[in-house]
C-alpha cells in the first residue's frame, strides 16, 4: 500500500478519479431516472471527435473539446424537443458520426502521433496537476449547486412539466445541467476513455436504485458506490497490472450484480 502512494501519479489519479466519480454519480442520478442513459455516451463520442479535430489543427484538446461538447449537448437537448427524431436515435447518429470523424481525421493526418488507444480507453498517465485543479473546482461547483437546488433538481427530474408550472426555471437548469455534464464527460474521458466514461455516470445510480427506493438515499449511495468502485478498480488494476478504466467498469458491474442479487433475495 505504501508503495502505491509513493507513486505521485497514482495519488494524482486517485484524487482526480474520486472527485470525478462523485460528480459523475451526482449527475448520473437525474440522467438515469429521466431515462437519458445514452447521453453520456453521445457526449463522450463528440468529445473524442473534438479532441481529434483539435489535435489535427494543433489546438489545445481540452479547451477545444469542452465548448464543442457543450454545443453538442444543447443540440441533443433541442433534438429531443423535436418530435420528428426520437432522443435516442438523435444521440446514436451524433455519437457514431463524431467517433467516425475523429478516427478518420487522426488516420489521414500525417505527422501527428496520437495513441488512439489512450483516447478510446483512457490513460491514467495523462493526469496532471491541471486536472486536479479542474476537478476540485468542478466538484465544488457541482456540490454547491446540488445543495442549493436539491429540491428543484428532484422535481425537475421527477416531473419537468409540473416543475415548470410552479415556477422552476426549467430551461435554465437544463442548460446548466448540459454544461456540467459536458465538463464531467470531457474531464473523465482522459481517465476513463471515450468508450467507458459513460459507465461512471450510469452504473452507481443503477446499483443504488436496486437497494434504495427514496430519492435522497439513492443520491447519497450512488456517490458512495461510485467512490468505492473507483478506488477498488484503481487498486485492483495496480495490483494485477490490468487496464485501469476497464477494471473500474468491471468493479462497477460486479457491484451492480451483487446488489441485484441482494435485492432479489430480499424480495
Amino acid at each position: 500500500m505504501a508503495v502505491f502512494f509513493s507513486y505521485s501519479f497514482l495519488v494524482q489519479t486517485l484524487i482526480v478519479g474520486l472527485l470525478l466519480s462523485i460528480c459523475a454519480a451526482l449527475a448520473g442520478v437525474p440522467i438515469v431516472l429521466k431515462k437519458n442513459s445514452m447521453i453520456g455516451d453521445g457526449l463522450s463520442h463528440v468529445g473524442f471527435g473534438a479532441v481529434a479535430i483539435a489535435t489535427v489543427l494543433g489546438l489545445a484538446p481540452l479547451e477545444f473539446a469542452i465548448p464543442a461538447v457543450i454545443i453538442a449537448s444543447f443540440f441533443i437537448l433541442k433534438l429531443e424537443d423535436n418530435h420528428k427524431i426520437s432522443g435516442d436515435s438523435a444521440i446514436a447518429i451524433i455519437s457514431a458520426s463524431a467517433l467516425a470523424l475523429g478516427t478518420f481525421l487522426i488516420s489521414i493526418t500525417k505527422g501527428v502521433n496520437i495513441d488512439l488507444n489512450s483516447y478510446l480507453f483512457g490513460n491514467i498517465l495523462s493526469i496532471n496537476n491541471t486536472d486536479i485543479i479542474f476537478s476540485i473546482i468542478l466538484t465544488t461547483i457541482i456540490l454547491t449547486i446540488y445543495l442549493i437546488s436539491y429540491n428543484k433538481i428532484f422535481t425537475l427530474t421527477f416531473d419537468e412539466k409540473f416543475a415548470k408550472s410552479i415556477g422552476v426555471k426549467t430551461d435554465f437548469y437544463r442548460v446548466l445541467f448540459a454544461i456540467l455534464c459536458s465538463i464531467i464527460v470531457v474531464l473523465g474521458m482522459r481517465l476513463m476513455g471515450t468508450l467507458l466514461i459513460s459507465s461512471l455516470l450510469i452504473f452507481p445510480t443503477l446499483s443504488a436504485m436496486q437497494l434504495f427506493k427514496k430519492f435522497k438515499t439513492v443520491v447519497i449511495f450512488s456517490v458512495l458506490i461510485s467512490a468505492l468502485t473507483f478506488t477498488l478498480g484503481l487498486f485492483i488494476s495496480y495490483i494485477c497490472a490490468t487496464p485501469t478504466s476497464s477494471t473500474i467498469v468491471l468493479s462497477n458491474l460486479v457491484t451492480f450484480l451483487l446488489v441485484k442479487i441482494i435485492n432479489l433475495m430480499l424480495k
Binding site: L33, K34, K35, I148, N151, K152, F154, T155, F158, D159, K161, F162, A163, K164, S165, I166, G167, V168, M209, F212, K213, K214, F215, K216, V218
Partner: protein, 224 residues
C-alpha cells in the same frame, strides 16, 4: 377566476382551436372535452402560461397567480420506476413558495394533503411500488400543496380501472365542494358527463362552453 378571451391556441405553425371564449368562476368544476387532437392539452398549457396563445388572452382574476395553480400533468410522461418516496413527491408541490429547503409549514401542508386524500399510510412507500390509483392520489396531493384556489388536471382518470376512477372523481367532487377549489379537468370520458362537473368546455367542431345540463341537452338533440 379565469377569463379566456377570443383565444386561438396552437404550437409551431399549427392552429388547433380558434375563438375560445369562456369565463370560469370561483367554485366551478369544468370538464374540457373533445376528440384527440382537438387541443385539450394545448388549451390547458396555454391557460397555465406554459404556452403562448396564438392570439387572444388568458386573464387571471381573483388574485390567482400562475405559480399557485395546482397542475397535474398526464401520468404517462413519468418514469414508472422512479425511486422516490411519496412524501418527497408530495412535498415538492410546495416549491412554489420559493424556499430553498422545506420548512415546517411545507411539511405540515404535505401531511395535511396526505390526510385529505387518505394516503398517510403510503407516506414512506416508493412511487415505483404504487398502483395506478395510488399514484394519481399522490400526484393530486402534490398539486394540492401548490394551490388553494385552482386545480388543472390533464386526463387524471387515464389508465385507471372503473373502481379507482369512481373513487378519484368522488375525491375531486369533495375537494371542489368542501375546500371550494376550482377545478378544470381534461377528460375523454363521455360516460361521466352527467355525473361530474357543473360546466363543460367542448372543443368539438362547434365550440361549446356552458352548464353541463345544457351540453347534455344539446348532445341529445343532435342524436335525434
Amino acid at each position: 377566476m379565469i377569463t379566456l378571451k377570443n383565444l386561438t391556441i396552437g404550437y409551431d405553425d399549427h392552429i388547433v382551436a380558434k375563438n375560445i371564449n369562456a369565463k370560469i368562476s370561483p367554485g366551478d368544476f369544468v370538464c374540457v372535452v373533445g376528440p384527440n387532437g382537438s387541443g385539450k392539452s394545448t388549451l390547458i398549457k396555454t391557460i397555465l402560461h406554459l404556452m403562448k396563445p396564438k392570439s387572444g388572452k388568458v386573464i387571471y382574476e381573483d388574485g390567482l397567480k400562475q405559480n399557485f395553480i395546482g397542475y397535474m400533468p398526464q401520468e404517462i410522461s413519468l418514469n414508472p420506476n422512479f425511486t422516490a418516496s411519496v412524501f418527497e413527491i408530495v412535498l415538492s408541490g410546495t416549491l412554489n413558495r420559493k424556499q430553498i429547503f422545506y420548512n415546517k409549514e411545507a411539511k405540515k401542508l404535505a401531511d395535511r394533503n396526505l390526510e385529505i386524500l387518505k394516503i398517510k399510510n403510503l407516506k414512506t412507500k416508493s412511487f415505483c411500488d404504487l398502483s395506478g390509483g395510488q399514484r394519481q392520489k399522490v400526484l393530486l396531493a402534490r398539486s394540492l400543496c401548490a394551490t388553494s384556489k385552482l386545480l388543472i388536471l390533464d386526463e387524471p382518470s387515464n389508465n385507471l380501472d372503473l373502481k379507482s376512477k369512481t373513487a378519484l372523481y368522488q375525491i375531486l367532487k369533495d375537494i371542489n365542494k368542501k375546500q371550494g377549489i376550482t377545478i378544470i379537468m381534461v377528460t375523454h370520458d363521455l360516460d361521466h358527463h352527467n355525473l361530474i362537473g357543473n360546466k363543460i368546455l367542448s372543443l368539438n367542431n362547434d365550440f361549446f362552453y356552458g352548464p353541463t345540463s345544457d351540453f347534455v341537452k344539446k348532445v341529445h338533440q343532435e342524436e335525434k
